[in-house]
């Protein structure tokens, strides 16, 4: 079972962040919500590993276990 990577792993963190924000430029709230939902699904499929995805759901909740 692989572990979810929670240390820095992006090759160009600033670029990705800027692109993510830019992707929402000009979108209404509903469109942004829909975009985010699609993005999560695309990334989840890329990860594939259900154990990693489970850890990601926990990590994103920001609750201390």
């Amino acid at each position: 079972m692989s572990d979810l990577i929670l240390s820095s792993n992006l090759t160009h963190a600033d670029n990705f962040y800027a692109n993510l924000v830019a992707a929402h430029d000009g979108l209404e709230k509903a469109e942004s919500d829909a975009f985010n939902a699609r993005l999560v699904l695309v990334l989840a499929n890329h990860i594939g590993d259900s154990a990693v995805l489970k850890q990601a759901l926990v990590a994103a909740a920001l609750k201390q276990e």
Binding site: D33, A34, A37, R38, V40, L41, V42, N45
Partner: protein, 546 residues
Amino acid sequence: MSCARKGRETVNKIFEVPLYAYKASPDQSAPEPVRHKVIVVGAGPVGLAAAIDLAQQGIEVLVLDDNDKVSFGSRAICFAKRPLEILDRLGCGQPMVDKGVLWNKGKVFFDKRQVYEFDLQPDSGDQHPAFINLQQYYFEQFLVDRVRELQEQGAPIEIRGRNKVEAVGTHPDHVKLEVETPEGSYTVEADWVIACDGAGSPMRAMLGKDFVGRVFEDNFLIADVIMEADFPSERWFWFDPPFNKGQSALLHKQPDGVWRIDLQLGWDIDKEREKRPENVIPRLKAMLGEDVKFELEWVSIYTFQCRRMDQFRHGRVIFAGDSAHQVSPFGARGANSGVQDTDNLCWKLKLVIDGKAPESLLDSYDQERIHGADENILNSTRSTDFITPKSRMSRILRDAVLDLSEHYDFARPMVNSGRLSVPCVYDGSALNSADALSGPAQTRPGASCPDAPLGDGFLLPKLAGQFTMLTIDADAPDEIEVDGITVKRLALSVKDDPTLTLKRRYLGDAASAVYLIRPDQHVAARRDTYEENTFRHAVRRATGKE
């Protein structure tokens, strides 16, 4: 599903003719209550299947039904491969397949556009298609025909129409029923009672048993329309279509030019109003097009719940079908799972009645079919949550899946318009022996046997109705007796099936295999070679003796 019995426009027909009209029985004037071996309460698909199964095994069975006709309206319409295989064993699978509409393809629409189409691709090597569509009234009629055929052959089976069970008395060794008829009431007894009296089961209520689960706050309009239309024999499902904004819709073909239409209506509606033809017809025109000519055959509005009883067996009263468990209609898991209940139950009851297995064998019916019911409830609940999102965010995610599915293959498995019924694998059943073959997972202990073509027919009909030792390129005796149960061998070789389906499904990389197959065609045990001691243990285990 609870089907209202109003709102019908024009009807033929089969569901108006009494198929088992009331006739006085000598039981009604007997000085003492007459004792029957098994009484089945309810002559729906599940009750009739149970009765036929028992009668074919020579067990005397009486079916009591409060009505005298087949079901009103099409109701259950989608029958899966596994029930068809079971019906073959009951002697009436082929007429159903011949009458039914075969389909493999489907289309999914979202808003105004088609997002994808699918092909269930019939698994080659099977005698039967993945599904047929057939109105429940035909399904029941074929079963009643089979009952009549068995009666002509002298089988101990009887149906009594307009015999309504009004009271139940349970005793350690029998059950007493108070039965109401047009000519008054009478008392009758049975060693065993199988309650197949539907989701609203009066039997369950009379025994005071719980039936808890989740209610879904939604209404669905269900309509059978007769039309000459060019729509293909496919399952079409719409999410949020222009003709039913914010809701869903389903179109499915049945025999005789009848089409099933399901329209989600939401929760806060006036049911009586929505059911009126002047309100139904405009909805259907918006869906089918202004020019399409159609006639309404049957209209109903239903709500549904997903729930089950804590236990299906209560002493000598055993519940099967919707009386024991209820699911949403998405996935065709109602009648299909009910028929699988009876398939699981009847051979066990036969062994117990014959004194060849302990009564505790019947507890495995509870264990295995509750496992099946939970799987069905889980699947149909998930489908329902996808079709009718209950929060703002679940709708956003649902719509995201649909939007992605139009462009990318990966999202399509997440689209859930109903996970269609597949046979349950009894993993972890007390009747299974540990898997001792490094063979394919699909034939592990607990699984139902997949079919395979053999030169002169198919595999499954050769495995029907009794314990079988299936050997593939393995030596074994032709017959073995274990505590009065005879297990006959079916000796096969991979050479018997040039398509190699048999090898693929039963051997995998193994060179040989010996399977113990239960009378309901589920695998009880397997290993690579015959070993008498282990095999005897497996038979004892599969009959509740270990």
